[in-house]
Symmetry: C2
Subunit: 411 residues, 2 copies
């Protein structure tokens, strides 16, 4: 059958396969070293504990775990989330009606789009930006206001300029929210500093905007000081906080969450009803009982130490292999899963990709994370999955691939 046989919707016409997906198709060939995926190391998952709890809750709580749940999510898990919000962020005084459990934070992102965005509306995003957020928002056909991500967060002059421009053209009411991954951003590894967080809140107050703070990596901090969350600074009426258990527990349960004002949660619950009725009861209760029995913030410490070791290896390998290349630079994140590696400006990491592929080393070209898919001299390098020795070997191969690319003249 040809594609053209069916009359797809305009939305379907716009959907395109994620570049990551396409590029990483061959990352599983024998001998390949991949810095591509952002998947956590499965050895860090508490499999023995989860196996035991799963068996118990299916036997004893089958009337809940095997049945439909309510759309809002398992109340037992919501209880645990309220405890974590206090421990991790110092956020207090919330109730069940401030929480919605979602199928991964990807669904949280899509629900944000559904309840806030009409076609043509504006969303302020970074360059680079988290690809999953861009693709969720794109389903609502918005326009992206793009601001550069500097080493300490969004370029605030650009933020103010973009917003002033909208105000002057009378379009400010169509700017629905500012989106920001506040800690160890995917893809850049950059953390927005306290001063910029405060300024973002001030701007949101001034122009009556919402901020959508996405923080999947915050607890994976291996050095430096904790920075108060934008929600803690701006409050529940001004900030929507998204989070997930994919990084601190495991991704296979697909549990994300939205923390927001009650009226926003109510709308999202209605949208989720039409999307999937409810999340799987089993995985929600599994997470709830795990959080009840174990201190997840303690349990995750060995994983964090492991990630730090791997991050250090990657930064060291980059120094050793690219230290001599003028104009090359990389971030040295204080947590999370990603290093952002930038070649001198004239290079294009998409064009370099096939040379890397030949050398059996994989990364994600920066182009994937630009809201309007422009060429990029950067690449996202995930250090979480390969063993330390593979990180050194992979970066060596990368330098070799770069040399082949450079002399090919295909800039």
């Amino acid at each position: 059958m040809e594609n053209s046989r069916y009359q797809f919707s305009k939305l379907a016409g716009k959907l395109k396969s994620s570049m990551i997906r396409e590029l990483l198709k061959y990352a599983n060939v024998p001998g390949a070293i991949s810095f591509g995926g952002g998947t956590p190391d499965p050895e860090t998952f508490p499999r023995h504990e989860l196996a035991q709890i799963a068996s118990e809750i299916i036997e004893k709580e089958y009337k809940y775990t095997l049945q439909y749940s309510v759309t809002e999510g398992d109340p037992e898990l919501i209880k645990q989330i309220l405890v974590l919000l206090k421990r991790v962020y110092g956020i207090d005084g919330l109730s069940n009606e401030n929480i919605l459990i979602t199928v991964g934070s990807q669904q949280a992102l899509e629900l944000v789009g559904k309840v806030l965005l009409d076609p043509g509306d504006y969303v302020l995003v970074g360059d680079p930006e988290y690809l999953g957020a861009l693709s969720a928002f794109r389903m609502r056909d918005p326009q992206f206001l793009v601001v550069k991500f500097e080493n300490d967060g969004p370029d605030m002059n650009m933020v103010e300029q973009r917003i002033r421009d909208l105000e002057e053209s009378g379009q400010i009411r169509y700017l629905k929210f500012i989106y920001v991954v506040s800690n160890f951003q995917n893809p850049s590894g950059i953390t927005t500093n306290l001063e910029k967080r405060k300024t973002l809140v001030e701007i949101a107050e001034k122009y009556d905007l919402l901020i959508v703070e996405d923080d999947p990596y915050g607890v994976l901090r291996f050095k430096g000081e904790f920075v108060p969350s934008i929600m803690k600074i701006g409050g529940i009426e001004r900030v929507i906080l998204l989070n997930t258990f994919s990084k601190i527990l495991c991704p296979g349960l697909r549990i994300g969450m939205v923390v927001a004002d009650k009226s926003i949660i109510r709308k999202m619950v209605l949208a989720k009803q039409g999307s999937d009725l409810c999340s799987p009861s089993l995985t929600m209760r599994l997470a709830a009982r795990y959080l009840e029995k174990y201190d997840v913030l303690e349990q995750i410490k060995p994983a964090i130490a492991l990630y730090e070791k791997k991050k250090n290896a990657m930064v060291k390998a980059l120094e050793e292999n690219f230290g001599d290349l003028e104009g090359a630079k990389w971030t040295d994140p204080e947590g999370g899963l990603f290093v952002w590696f930038t070649l001198p400006e004239k290079y294009d990491t998409m064009k370099m990709f096939r040379f890397a592929e030949q050398n059996k080393v994989f990364y994600i070209p920066g182009e994937a994370f630009r809201p309007y898919d422009q060429p990029s001299s950067s690449m996202r390098m995930s250090f979480c999955l390969p063993p330390v020795e593979d990180i050194y070997e992979g970066i060596k191969r990368l330098r070799d691939a770069f040399e082949k690319y450079r002399i090919s003249g295909e800039l």
Copy 2:
């Protein structure tokens, strides 16, 4: 906070809480008998088997079960689904690329809407119709072409008339598909007969339309003869088949599926990527290993026998309590979970609801299942959850509530 504080999208403005949800809020009061929910009896769930498998696959297959999956779904589960398609429907010759695993069939319905419907497009649906389908499609803002559901399926004269009207007005290209729950429809319990299935396919061929066949209840047949599926008659290029494990295994895993032409599945995979990246690996693998180890079609037989006993009780109780009421009628389904009970035309089951509530008996007013929310003298009566003695008692209470409603004069 007031709702009005936030500038929600137009879509959010249209979302309303499901009537079912609102009406059933009080169905859990002590002593209440509810024919409202369509949830299966948890005693029919194979909890011992699932508990053991869950523990095993978390311990031994943690690299899959606790990690991200691919968007298409667990290949092991897809393998089992291909086997079931052959056994249940006699559908053969399909490959992995014809299957997408979803978070319940509600997500399958939403993905159908996303890839096929633009605002203003037409969808042909029944009156009454499955509420979850209507709410999924409504997210794409379509127009419903409504045809009456008779005792053996859609009124085919109306189907042809509606389509001819569209053709004459030059709008036929905006009719994207015909939606039909082919077996034991929710809410009516009605099965579309073979002749009507064939005619639907002929019409679809003639006007180059797709048919979306939804069949969550087909395997729950307790009497009468199996009717070939519309997909078997019309083929994979003409029909999209939706199904779910919620009724033959359990709903808590939230596993639905789409069976369709490869090009349609490809588009849906892209849409699902933006919606939730992937379904939970754990629940998919759990279902896969269960299907591998046990014959689900044999395992479900006691549950089917139980449902038949309950259905018989409900029909008998209706005869005993409403047999004298001229104009009252009810369906006597050959499978599934629902009886459709219709009072004489002048009555409105929404208005009667508060009398039923006073009598602590609950049902879903037919209005909930009408594409344009008009009043209805029918109600959906689920027999799957209450014990047999409660079914008799509940129908008695219902007659009493009806009498109170009748003399109240609030028609």
